[in-house]
């Protein structure tokens, strides 16, 4: 491969191969051509080290090959220890890799960054946008939907705008966890809930409430924000206010780890005195003491599915307005 002073263009390759630019373009884009010209072009390409210029291609095709993932930078969750976003990105990457698309990460922390993202979408700097855990009230969601760029979210929107989404059965998962506790004979079941302005917080709480309601049992709730320390604090409050509880359903594994640490410090035995069940099944759940019973959600699968849906939407296909992936109760020692 010869390195010239400047990058070779289609023109250079055409000259070398003795064909027209159009023919080179067709070979590059794998369109029909005679074996001879294909061979000549391919030889020229590798001799010159030709790589197509993305900008030029984008200018005519109106496709950038870039897919944005918008994350709420300011959220305590993104940059907490929670593995949710890491796993989500992993799933998304797998799918985009296969489609030869490039992931672009955009953090929607400040007002300015939100405007930049909105701007990027309007200018079609990217072909489509994935929204992850933006609170439903975030103005960005509505703005993107309005701009008509293909969008997929990882949860249903809270506000009036409709946005296609891929989510898990938060309600059913929470309900299954609580029903398991009831079946195990637990009589006073509390819950450490997630933020009341996030779907994951709302739906899991509702699952807890519905399960207890059907059993005619009383609600005992403490609110957290999906961080470990909020779980630890919530557990302390529960212990102080309702010392007779014998089980806790915690809306995330990280909060459950915090709760377990509080219980351990207070000398409360798990699960003998109080059973604990988390939600997520991140790696941490296998490493707590005792290992954590939890509701597994297929985070990587959400990522793959979101990316797949978005790719189809960009392709002009009709996509389902909502996909709900199943959860699964994983029994370990804590509850």
């Amino acid at each position: 491969m010869v390195q010239g002073h400047r990058r070779p263009t289609l023109e250079t390759v055409a000259e070398r191969a003795g064909v027209s630019r159009a023919t080179v373009s067709r070979v590059v884009n794998e369109q029909p051509s005679t074996p001879e010209s294909r061979r000549a072009v391919e030889a020229a390409i590798s001799e010159l080290g030709y790589v197509p210029n993305l900008a030029a291609r984008t200018l005519v095709t109106q496709r950038t090959g870039l897919i944005a993932l918008v994350l709420p930078e300011s959220s305590t969750r993104v940059f907490s220890e929670d593995q949710f976003f890491s796993q989500l990105i992993q799933g998304i990457s797998q799918e985009l890799d296969e489609a030869d698309r490039q992931l672009v990460l955009m953090l929607a922390g400040s007002v300015e960054s939100r405007q930049r993202i909105e701007h990027s979408a309007q200018a079609r700097h990217v072909d489509g946008v994935m929204l992850a855990s933006l609170h439903g009230t975030n103005p960005l969601t509505a703005a993107l939907v309005r701009s008509k760029i293909p969008v997929v979210s990882n949860e249903r929107a809270l506000g009036p705008v409709e946005v296609p989404h891929v989510d898990v059965d938060n309600h059913g998962g929470a309900r299954a966890a609580v029903e398991h506790l009831i079946a195990a004979g637990r009589g006073r079941i509390a819950s450490i809930t997630g933020p009341p302005d996030m779907i994951a917080g709302i739906d899991r709480r509702q699952g807890y409430r519905d399960a207890l309601g059907e059993a005619g049992m009383a609600l005992v709730e403490a609110t957290g924000d999906f961080t470990r320390s909020s779980g630890a604090d919530a557990m302390s409050r529960l212990l102080a206010e309702t010392p007779d509880i014998d089980a806790v359903f915690v809306a995330s594994d990280l909060m459950a780890d915090g709760a377990l640490r509080t219980l351990q410090r207070e000398g409360v035995r798990v699960p003998d005195d109080i059973a604990v069940i988390g939600f997520d099944d991140i790696e941490l759940a296998r490493q707590t003491d005792p290992p954590m019973t939890t509701v597994r959600q297929p985070i990587t699968g959400i990522g793959r599915s979101m990316a797949g849906q978005l790719l189809r939407a960009i392709d002009g296909q009709q996509i389902e307005p909502a996909i709900t992936l199943p959860t699964e109760l994983v029994l370990r020692a804590s509850g």
Copy 2:
């Protein structure tokens, strides 16, 4: 703002404002123009909702405004609970936001993805590349340096290639931690080290060795891979093989958390029986029981500095081949 059927172009704006395309371009790019034409153009822009086409601009300026961050997807660290990458990204984003550049995330897991990244760099799909914790032997590093695209790494390369980097004083930080243990009267100090093929693992281990060597004390080492479970396992081995140790310097907070869990399970008191010091000072360090003494490294600062250096390199400026940021021993209860 009027929404036409298709996006407005410079041409449309020029017509509406009654000036030439060149004048519109100059106003958009904040070049000198008379107040009157500026006003007319700005009015037309907002009426039409004009947003410049990135591809067209890139085609002529040869700048994309995109900056890549390449992460080793396969590494256990990226998608572990370790907050290192999250914080690094946060720092990078702050800096890029200010410069109005867009971050593009590229995961270098598979051979194919590495080739795609190399390809992207050659094709100048991005203006520059940041490398984070790619093992020095990774062929990608050399390939990028060869392609002459501006590159900055978060650690010095292990192989023969030189790459500008921003790192922390791993050696000095480790040394300070161990010297603190010695000064506190600990007589048999072990270390749980990081991977021997990563700079952070190598340098922190050397800092431990040098501090012990000067004090004439014997080395007691167990190797981990920066994950929590590897820290727990290494601690178990140390306890079994050298039960007389009274302190451990652990090369990362996450491994130190694993070690603390092992000690707690084994009924070993911290710091009374064994003192523990970690490295990183991520949020977790404040939440362990007891709270962790650790070596703080300014991860967000590394990100900002990397991005800053890269931006300067892209700008054609000469940048320093190496920047080393200081670490700081944070005293809490564990050691």
